[in-house]
Symmetry: C2
Subunit: 239 residues, 2 copies
Protein backbone atom coordinates (compact mmCIF):
# COMPACT_ATOMS: atom_id res chain seq x y z
CA UNK A 1 0.00 0.00 0.00
CA UNK A 2 1.30 3.40 -0.91
CA UNK A 3 0.65 6.53 1.10
CA UNK A 4 -1.67 9.28 -0.16
CA UNK A 5 0.18 12.37 -1.39
CA UNK A 6 -0.30 15.97 -0.36
CA UNK A 7 0.90 19.49 -1.10
CA UNK A 8 0.64 22.69 0.88
CA UNK A 9 0.07 26.21 -0.43
CA UNK A 10 1.04 29.02 1.94
CA UNK A 11 -0.57 32.29 0.88
CA UNK A 12 0.78 35.60 2.08
CA UNK A 13 3.00 38.58 1.31
CA UNK A 14 4.14 38.66 4.93
CA UNK A 15 6.02 35.38 4.60
CA UNK A 16 7.72 36.38 1.34
CA UNK A 17 8.76 39.78 2.65
CA UNK A 18 10.42 38.19 5.68
CA UNK A 19 8.11 39.99 8.09
CA UNK A 20 6.66 36.76 9.45
CA UNK A 21 8.34 33.41 9.82
CA UNK A 22 5.93 30.71 8.73
CA UNK A 23 5.32 27.95 11.24
CA UNK A 24 2.34 26.23 9.63
CA UNK A 25 4.41 24.27 7.11
CA UNK A 26 6.46 22.59 9.81
CA UNK A 27 3.35 21.86 11.87
CA UNK A 28 1.41 20.35 8.97
CA UNK A 29 4.44 18.32 7.82
CA UNK A 30 4.66 16.65 11.22
CA UNK A 31 0.93 15.96 11.47
CA UNK A 32 0.73 14.47 7.96
CA UNK A 33 3.73 12.23 8.59
CA UNK A 34 2.08 10.97 11.76
CA UNK A 35 -1.07 9.83 9.92
CA UNK A 36 0.71 8.42 6.87
CA UNK A 37 0.07 11.11 4.25
CA UNK A 38 3.20 12.09 2.32
CA UNK A 39 3.80 15.83 1.96
CA UNK A 40 5.49 16.04 -1.45
CA UNK A 41 5.64 19.75 -2.18
CA UNK A 42 5.05 23.14 -0.59
CA UNK A 43 4.59 26.45 -2.39
CA UNK A 44 4.48 29.92 -0.94
CA UNK A 45 2.84 32.62 -3.08
CA UNK A 46 1.85 36.25 -2.55
CA UNK A 47 -1.68 37.66 -2.19
CA UNK A 48 -2.06 37.74 -5.99
CA UNK A 49 -5.12 36.05 -7.44
CA UNK A 50 -3.53 34.70 -10.63
CA UNK A 51 -0.63 33.17 -8.70
CA UNK A 52 -2.91 31.51 -6.15
CA UNK A 53 -5.17 30.10 -8.90
CA UNK A 54 -2.24 28.74 -10.95
CA UNK A 55 -0.65 27.08 -7.93
CA UNK A 56 -3.97 25.56 -6.79
CA UNK A 57 -4.69 24.11 -10.21
CA UNK A 58 -1.21 22.60 -10.54
CA UNK A 59 -1.17 21.13 -7.03
CA UNK A 60 -4.77 19.86 -6.88
CA UNK A 61 -4.31 18.05 -10.20
CA UNK A 62 -1.15 16.31 -9.04
CA UNK A 63 -1.66 15.40 -5.39
CA UNK A 64 -4.42 13.64 -3.46
CA UNK A 65 -4.78 16.56 -1.04
CA UNK A 66 -3.91 20.26 -1.03
CA UNK A 67 -3.83 22.22 2.24
CA UNK A 68 -3.78 26.01 2.13
CA UNK A 69 -3.02 28.49 4.90
CA UNK A 70 -3.73 32.20 4.96
CA UNK A 71 -5.94 34.79 3.32
CA UNK A 72 -9.40 33.95 4.68
CA UNK A 73 -9.94 36.91 7.04
CA UNK A 74 -12.16 40.00 6.63
CA UNK A 75 -9.69 42.44 5.04
CA UNK A 76 -9.16 43.50 1.43
CA UNK A 77 -6.01 41.37 1.11
CA UNK A 78 -7.89 38.18 2.06
CA UNK A 79 -8.61 36.74 -1.38
CA UNK A 80 -8.09 33.02 -0.88
CA UNK A 81 -11.75 31.88 -0.85
CA UNK A 82 -12.51 33.62 -4.15
CA UNK A 83 -9.28 32.32 -5.70
CA UNK A 84 -10.11 28.75 -4.68
CA UNK A 85 -13.61 29.06 -6.16
CA UNK A 86 -12.12 30.38 -9.41
CA UNK A 87 -9.44 27.67 -9.53
CA UNK A 88 -11.93 24.86 -8.93
CA UNK A 89 -14.71 26.25 -11.16
CA UNK A 90 -17.15 26.80 -8.29
CA UNK A 91 -19.55 29.67 -7.65
CA UNK A 92 -19.14 31.63 -4.43
CA UNK A 93 -21.24 33.91 -2.25
CA UNK A 94 -22.18 34.67 1.36
CA UNK A 95 -23.34 31.20 2.37
CA UNK A 96 -26.29 30.91 4.75
CA UNK A 97 -24.67 28.30 7.01
CA UNK A 98 -21.52 30.38 7.49
CA UNK A 99 -23.57 33.58 7.91
CA UNK A 100 -25.59 31.91 10.69
CA UNK A 101 -22.45 30.69 12.52
CA UNK A 102 -20.84 34.12 12.38
CA UNK A 103 -24.04 36.04 13.25
CA UNK A 104 -24.43 33.93 16.40
CA UNK A 105 -20.75 34.42 17.28
CA UNK A 106 -20.86 38.22 17.01
CA UNK A 107 -24.25 38.36 18.78
CA UNK A 108 -22.72 36.48 21.72
CA UNK A 109 -19.73 38.84 21.71
CA UNK A 110 -21.96 41.90 21.48
CA UNK A 111 -20.14 43.06 18.33
CA UNK A 112 -21.70 44.27 15.08
CA UNK A 113 -21.77 41.66 12.30
CA UNK A 114 -20.61 44.27 9.80
CA UNK A 115 -19.85 44.00 6.09
CA UNK A 116 -16.16 43.14 6.64
CA UNK A 117 -17.01 40.32 9.04
CA UNK A 118 -19.69 39.05 6.64
CA UNK A 119 -16.92 38.62 4.08
CA UNK A 120 -15.72 35.64 6.10
CA UNK A 121 -18.98 33.89 5.15
CA UNK A 122 -17.92 33.88 1.50
CA UNK A 123 -17.62 30.12 0.94
CA UNK A 124 -17.74 28.35 -2.43
CA UNK A 125 -20.93 26.43 -3.19
CA UNK A 126 -20.42 22.71 -2.65
CA UNK A 127 -17.68 23.18 -0.07
CA UNK A 128 -17.86 21.54 3.38
CA UNK A 129 -17.12 23.87 6.28
CA UNK A 130 -14.07 23.29 8.49
CA UNK A 131 -14.77 23.95 12.16
CA UNK A 132 -12.89 26.84 13.80
CA UNK A 133 -13.18 26.43 17.58
CA UNK A 134 -10.89 29.43 18.18
CA UNK A 135 -12.65 32.28 16.40
CA UNK A 136 -15.65 30.71 14.57
CA UNK A 137 -14.93 31.95 11.01
CA UNK A 138 -14.79 28.61 9.19
CA UNK A 139 -12.35 27.13 6.73
CA UNK A 140 -13.66 24.83 4.02
CA UNK A 141 -12.92 21.78 1.93
CA UNK A 142 -13.72 22.02 -1.79
CA UNK A 143 -12.84 18.93 -3.83
CA UNK A 144 -9.40 17.92 -2.60
CA UNK A 145 -8.47 21.42 -1.37
CA UNK A 146 -8.60 22.16 2.36
CA UNK A 147 -8.62 25.91 3.03
CA UNK A 148 -7.46 27.06 6.46
CA UNK A 149 -6.51 30.23 8.31
CA UNK A 150 -2.95 31.50 8.55
CA UNK A 151 -2.91 32.45 12.24
CA UNK A 152 -1.02 29.48 13.73
CA UNK A 153 -3.37 28.52 16.57
CA UNK A 154 -6.39 28.69 14.26
CA UNK A 155 -4.52 26.78 11.54
CA UNK A 156 -3.68 24.05 14.04
CA UNK A 157 -7.25 23.82 15.28
CA UNK A 158 -8.50 23.50 11.69
CA UNK A 159 -5.91 20.80 10.93
CA UNK A 160 -7.24 18.94 13.98
CA UNK A 161 -10.77 19.22 12.51
CA UNK A 162 -9.76 18.04 9.02
CA UNK A 163 -7.19 15.27 9.44
CA UNK A 164 -9.41 12.73 11.27
CA UNK A 165 -11.67 12.73 8.19
CA UNK A 166 -8.85 11.73 5.83
CA UNK A 167 -7.58 8.23 5.14
CA UNK A 168 -3.84 7.95 5.63
CA UNK A 169 -1.52 5.10 4.78
CA UNK A 170 0.73 3.31 7.21
CA UNK A 171 2.51 5.94 9.34
CA UNK A 172 5.99 6.89 8.20
CA UNK A 173 8.42 5.67 10.85
CA UNK A 174 11.67 7.48 11.40
CA UNK A 175 14.72 6.44 13.38
CA UNK A 176 18.01 8.22 13.57
CA UNK A 177 21.60 7.80 14.70
CA UNK A 178 23.81 10.71 15.62
CA UNK A 179 27.46 10.23 14.72
CA UNK A 180 30.33 12.52 15.64
CA UNK A 181 31.83 12.38 12.17
CA UNK A 182 31.43 14.62 9.15
CA UNK A 183 29.33 13.52 6.19
CA UNK A 184 32.42 13.07 4.04
CA UNK A 185 33.66 10.26 6.28
CA UNK A 186 30.46 8.24 6.32
CA UNK A 187 28.99 9.02 2.89
CA UNK A 188 30.31 6.01 0.99
CA UNK A 189 29.29 3.22 3.40
CA UNK A 190 26.02 5.03 4.15
CA UNK A 191 25.22 5.25 0.43
CA UNK A 192 26.00 1.53 0.06
CA UNK A 193 23.63 0.76 2.92
CA UNK A 194 20.89 2.90 1.33
CA UNK A 195 21.21 0.96 -1.91
CA UNK A 196 20.66 -2.30 0.05
CA UNK A 197 17.33 -0.93 1.34
CA UNK A 198 15.66 0.64 -1.71
CA UNK A 199 12.27 0.45 0.04
CA UNK A 200 13.49 2.84 2.75
CA UNK A 201 14.54 6.47 2.58
CA UNK A 202 17.91 7.28 4.13
CA UNK A 203 19.03 10.83 4.69
CA UNK A 204 22.07 12.43 6.25
CA UNK A 205 21.93 15.82 7.96
CA UNK A 206 25.23 17.43 8.86
CA UNK A 207 25.69 19.88 11.70
CA UNK A 208 28.47 21.92 13.23
CA UNK A 209 28.63 22.00 17.02
CA UNK A 210 31.40 23.78 18.92
CA UNK A 211 33.43 23.72 15.71
CA UNK A 212 33.16 19.94 15.29
CA UNK A 213 31.39 18.23 12.39
CA UNK A 214 28.67 15.71 13.13
CA UNK A 215 25.90 14.02 11.16
CA UNK A 216 22.41 12.80 11.93
CA UNK A 217 21.62 9.71 9.89
CA UNK A 218 17.90 9.16 9.45
CA UNK A 219 16.09 6.08 8.18
CA UNK A 220 12.44 6.39 7.18
CA UNK A 221 9.94 3.82 6.04
CA UNK A 222 6.53 2.36 6.71
CA UNK A 223 7.55 -1.25 7.50
CA UNK A 224 8.66 -1.45 11.15
CA UNK A 225 10.64 -4.67 10.55
CA UNK A 226 12.62 -3.21 7.67
CA UNK A 227 13.37 0.02 9.55
CA UNK A 228 14.59 -2.03 12.53
CA UNK A 229 16.73 -4.22 10.27
CA UNK A 230 18.32 -1.18 8.66
CA UNK A 231 18.98 0.42 12.06
CA UNK A 232 20.84 -2.74 13.17
CA UNK A 233 23.02 -2.48 10.06
CA UNK A 234 23.50 1.26 10.61
CA UNK A 235 24.61 0.75 14.19
CA UNK A 236 27.01 -1.97 13.07
CA UNK A 237 28.59 0.50 10.62
CA UNK A 238 28.75 3.65 12.78
CA UNK A 239 27.44 2.94 16.29
CA UNK B 1 11.88 51.51 -11.51
CA UNK B 2 10.54 48.10 -10.62
CA UNK B 3 12.36 45.68 -8.38
CA UNK B 4 13.97 42.50 -9.74
CA UNK B 5 12.02 39.34 -8.93
CA UNK B 6 13.23 36.18 -7.26
CA UNK B 7 12.10 32.71 -6.25
CA UNK B 8 13.54 30.21 -3.81
CA UNK B 9 13.67 26.43 -4.10
CA UNK B 10 14.20 24.54 -0.85
CA UNK B 11 15.35 20.98 -1.53
CA UNK B 12 15.03 18.27 1.07
CA UNK B 13 12.95 15.39 2.40
CA UNK B 14 13.73 16.48 5.96
CA UNK B 15 11.68 19.66 5.63
CA UNK B 16 8.69 17.87 4.08
CA UNK B 17 8.68 15.09 6.68
CA UNK B 18 8.59 17.63 9.49
CA UNK B 19 11.92 16.45 10.89
CA UNK B 20 13.60 19.82 10.34
CA UNK B 21 12.03 23.25 10.48
CA UNK B 22 13.40 25.31 7.60
CA UNK B 23 14.94 28.63 8.55
CA UNK B 24 16.60 29.55 5.27
CA UNK B 25 13.42 30.85 3.63
CA UNK B 26 12.81 33.41 6.35
CA UNK B 27 16.48 34.46 6.33
CA UNK B 28 16.63 34.89 2.54
CA UNK B 29 13.28 36.72 2.47
CA UNK B 30 14.61 39.33 4.88
CA UNK B 31 17.91 39.77 3.05
CA UNK B 32 16.27 40.14 -0.36
CA UNK B 33 13.77 42.69 0.97
CA UNK B 34 16.66 44.68 2.41
CA UNK B 35 18.40 44.98 -0.99
CA UNK B 36 15.26 45.58 -3.03
CA UNK B 37 14.76 42.20 -4.71
CA UNK B 38 11.17 40.94 -4.48
CA UNK B 39 10.78 37.32 -3.39
CA UNK B 40 7.66 36.25 -5.31
CA UNK B 41 7.48 32.51 -4.74
CA UNK B 42 9.03 29.70 -2.72
CA UNK B 43 8.79 26.00 -3.43
CA UNK B 44 9.89 23.09 -1.28
CA UNK B 45 10.49 19.77 -3.04
CA UNK B 46 11.88 16.38 -2.01
CA UNK B 47 15.24 14.88 -3.02
CA UNK B 48 13.72 13.65 -6.30
CA UNK B 49 15.54 14.58 -9.49
CA UNK B 50 12.49 15.06 -11.73
CA UNK B 51 10.80 17.29 -9.18
CA UNK B 52 13.89 19.46 -8.70
CA UNK B 53 14.40 19.81 -12.46
CA UNK B 54 10.76 20.72 -13.13
CA UNK B 55 10.71 23.34 -10.37
CA UNK B 56 14.02 24.86 -11.50
CA UNK B 57 12.87 25.17 -15.09
CA UNK B 58 9.57 26.78 -14.11
CA UNK B 59 11.13 29.22 -11.64
CA UNK B 60 14.22 30.20 -13.64
CA UNK B 61 12.07 30.98 -16.68
CA UNK B 62 9.75 33.21 -14.71
CA UNK B 63 11.89 35.13 -12.22
CA UNK B 64 15.10 37.15 -12.50
CA UNK B 65 16.83 35.06 -9.84
CA UNK B 66 16.37 31.61 -8.29
CA UNK B 67 18.04 30.71 -5.00
CA UNK B 68 18.25 27.07 -3.93
CA UNK B 69 19.13 25.58 -0.56
CA UNK B 70 20.08 22.00 0.22
CA UNK B 71 21.42 18.87 -1.42
CA UNK B 72 25.02 19.82 -2.24
CA UNK B 73 26.86 17.66 0.31
CA UNK B 74 28.83 14.42 -0.19
CA UNK B 75 26.09 11.81 0.43
CA UNK B 76 23.97 9.76 -1.98
CA UNK B 77 20.90 11.96 -1.33
CA UNK B 78 22.74 15.12 -2.41
CA UNK B 79 21.59 15.44 -6.01
CA UNK B 80 21.08 19.16 -6.45
CA UNK B 81 24.18 19.98 -8.55
CA UNK B 82 23.38 17.28 -11.11
CA UNK B 83 19.70 18.31 -11.18
CA UNK B 84 20.65 21.95 -11.81
CA UNK B 85 22.99 20.94 -14.65
CA UNK B 86 20.21 18.86 -16.20
CA UNK B 87 17.61 21.60 -15.79
CA UNK B 88 19.86 24.24 -17.34
CA UNK B 89 21.30 22.06 -20.12
CA UNK B 90 24.86 22.19 -18.79
CA UNK B 91 27.49 19.46 -18.58
CA UNK B 92 28.85 18.57 -15.15
CA UNK B 93 31.93 16.88 -13.73
CA UNK B 94 34.54 17.15 -10.99
CA UNK B 95 35.76 20.66 -11.74
CA UNK B 96 39.47 21.41 -11.32
CA UNK B 97 38.96 24.68 -9.44
CA UNK B 98 36.61 23.10 -6.89
CA UNK B 99 38.86 20.02 -6.60
CA UNK B 100 41.84 22.26 -5.80
CA UNK B 101 39.91 24.21 -3.13
CA UNK B 102 38.71 21.03 -1.43
CA UNK B 103 42.05 19.21 -1.71
CA UNK B 104 43.78 22.12 0.06
CA UNK B 105 41.04 22.19 2.72
CA UNK B 106 41.31 18.48 3.56
CA UNK B 107 45.12 18.59 3.41
CA UNK B 108 45.06 21.39 6.02
CA UNK B 109 42.65 19.37 8.17
CA UNK B 110 44.72 16.18 7.80
CA UNK B 111 41.70 14.31 6.44
CA UNK B 112 41.56 12.09 3.37
CA UNK B 113 40.07 13.74 0.27
CA UNK B 114 38.06 10.63 -0.45
CA UNK B 115 35.56 9.84 -3.21
CA UNK B 116 32.56 11.11 -1.21
CA UNK B 117 34.24 14.44 -0.49
CA UNK B 118 35.29 14.74 -4.13
CA UNK B 119 31.59 14.59 -5.00
CA UNK B 120 31.31 18.13 -3.64
CA UNK B 121 33.54 19.26 -6.55
CA UNK B 122 30.83 18.28 -9.03
CA UNK B 123 30.02 21.70 -10.45
CA UNK B 124 28.33 22.40 -13.80
CA UNK B 125 30.59 23.75 -16.55
CA UNK B 126 30.14 27.48 -16.96
CA UNK B 127 29.04 28.03 -13.35
CA UNK B 128 30.75 30.59 -11.11
CA UNK B 129 31.70 29.29 -7.67
CA UNK B 130 30.09 30.75 -4.54
CA UNK B 131 32.52 31.12 -1.67
CA UNK B 132 31.92 29.01 1.45
CA UNK B 133 33.98 30.49 4.29
CA UNK B 134 32.52 28.00 6.78
CA UNK B 135 33.41 24.62 5.31
CA UNK B 136 35.00 25.34 1.89
CA UNK B 137 32.74 23.16 -0.32
CA UNK B 138 31.47 25.80 -2.73
CA UNK B 139 28.02 26.69 -4.00
CA UNK B 140 27.65 27.98 -7.54
CA UNK B 141 25.75 30.33 -9.82
CA UNK B 142 24.66 28.95 -13.19
CA UNK B 143 22.66 31.33 -15.34
CA UNK B 144 20.18 32.94 -12.96
CA UNK B 145 20.26 30.05 -10.46
CA UNK B 146 22.25 30.43 -7.24
CA UNK B 147 22.88 27.06 -5.58
CA UNK B 148 23.63 27.07 -1.87
CA UNK B 149 23.98 24.66 1.05
CA UNK B 150 21.08 23.81 3.36
CA UNK B 151 22.94 24.00 6.69
CA UNK B 152 21.78 27.40 7.96
CA UNK B 153 25.12 28.97 8.88
CA UNK B 154 26.64 27.90 5.55
CA UNK B 155 23.54 29.06 3.66
CA UNK B 156 23.80 32.46 5.32
CA UNK B 157 27.51 32.76 4.52
CA UNK B 158 26.81 31.93 0.87
CA UNK B 159 23.98 34.47 0.71
CA UNK B 160 26.47 37.03 2.02
CA UNK B 161 28.83 36.05 -0.84
CA UNK B 162 26.18 36.23 -3.56
CA UNK B 163 23.93 39.19 -2.77
CA UNK B 164 26.53 41.97 -3.11
CA UNK B 165 27.01 40.88 -6.74
CA UNK B 166 23.33 41.37 -7.60
CA UNK B 167 21.62 44.59 -8.57
CA UNK B 168 18.58 45.30 -6.44
CA UNK B 169 15.93 47.93 -6.81
CA UNK B 170 15.03 50.55 -4.25
CA UNK B 171 14.72 48.81 -0.86
CA UNK B 172 11.22 47.82 0.18
CA UNK B 173 10.29 49.95 3.18
CA UNK B 174 7.88 48.65 5.75
CA UNK B 175 6.11 50.46 8.57
CA UNK B 176 3.48 49.09 10.85
CA UNK B 177 0.88 50.12 13.39
CA UNK B 178 -0.38 47.79 16.08
CA UNK B 179 -4.03 48.28 16.97
CA UNK B 180 -5.90 46.61 19.80
CA UNK B 181 -8.90 45.85 17.63
CA UNK B 182 -9.85 42.79 15.62
CA UNK B 183 -9.56 42.77 11.84
CA UNK B 184 -13.33 42.82 11.45
CA UNK B 185 -13.53 46.23 13.07
CA UNK B 186 -10.88 47.92 10.94
CA UNK B 187 -11.23 46.08 7.63
CA UNK B 188 -13.53 48.49 5.82
CA UNK B 189 -11.69 51.77 6.49
CA UNK B 190 -8.33 50.00 6.06
CA UNK B 191 -9.42 48.64 2.67
CA UNK B 192 -10.57 52.12 1.64
CA UNK B 193 -7.17 53.52 2.62
CA UNK B 194 -5.42 50.79 0.61
CA UNK B 195 -7.41 51.72 -2.48
CA UNK B 196 -6.24 55.35 -2.11
CA UNK B 197 -2.60 54.16 -2.25
CA UNK B 198 -2.53 51.63 -5.09
CA UNK B 199 1.25 52.04 -5.39
CA UNK B 200 1.71 50.67 -1.85
CA UNK B 201 1.01 47.25 -0.41
CA UNK B 202 -1.10 47.20 2.75
CA UNK B 203 -1.52 44.07 4.80
CA UNK B 204 -3.30 43.26 8.01
CA UNK B 205 -2.08 40.53 10.37
CA UNK B 206 -4.39 39.53 13.19
CA UNK B 207 -3.21 38.08 16.47
CA UNK B 208 -4.74 36.83 19.70
CA UNK B 209 -3.04 37.89 22.91
CA UNK B 210 -4.40 36.98 26.34
CA UNK B 211 -7.72 36.24 24.68
CA UNK B 212 -7.98 39.69 23.06
CA UNK B 213 -7.97 40.31 19.32
CA UNK B 214 -5.44 42.72 17.86
CA UNK B 215 -4.11 43.50 14.40
CA UNK B 216 -0.79 44.61 12.98
CA UNK B 217 -1.34 46.89 10.01
CA UNK B 218 1.64 46.98 7.67
CA UNK B 219 2.37 49.39 4.84
CA UNK B 220 5.08 48.51 2.33
CA UNK B 221 6.49 50.42 -0.59
CA UNK B 222 9.67 51.75 -2.13
CA UNK B 223 8.88 55.48 -2.06
CA UNK B 224 9.67 56.84 1.42
CA UNK B 225 7.42 59.89 0.96
CA UNK B 226 4.41 57.83 -0.01
CA UNK B 227 4.92 55.36 2.84
CA UNK B 228 5.16 58.28 5.28
CA UNK B 229 2.02 59.88 3.82
CA UNK B 230 0.08 56.63 4.17
CA UNK B 231 1.30 56.17 7.76
CA UNK B 232 -0.03 59.64 8.65
CA UNK B 233 -3.40 58.66 7.22
CA UNK B 234 -3.27 55.30 9.01
CA UNK B 235 -2.53 56.93 12.37
CA UNK B 236 -5.38 59.38 11.80
CA UNK B 237 -7.75 56.42 11.29
CA UNK B 238 -6.60 54.07 14.05
CA UNK B 239 -3.79 55.66 16.09
Amino acid sequence: MTNPTAAMLVIGDEILSGRTRDSNMHYLAGELTRIGITLCEVRVVADVQDDIVAALQALSARYAHVFTSGGIGPTHDDITADAVALAMGATIGHRADAMALLQAHYDRAGLPFNEARQRMARIPDGAALIDNPVSTAPGFTLGNVHVMAGVPNIFQAMVASVLPKLTGGPPLLSQSLRVDRGEGEIATPFGALASQFPDLSMGSYPFLQNGAHGTNLVIRGTDPGRVAEAMVALNRLFG
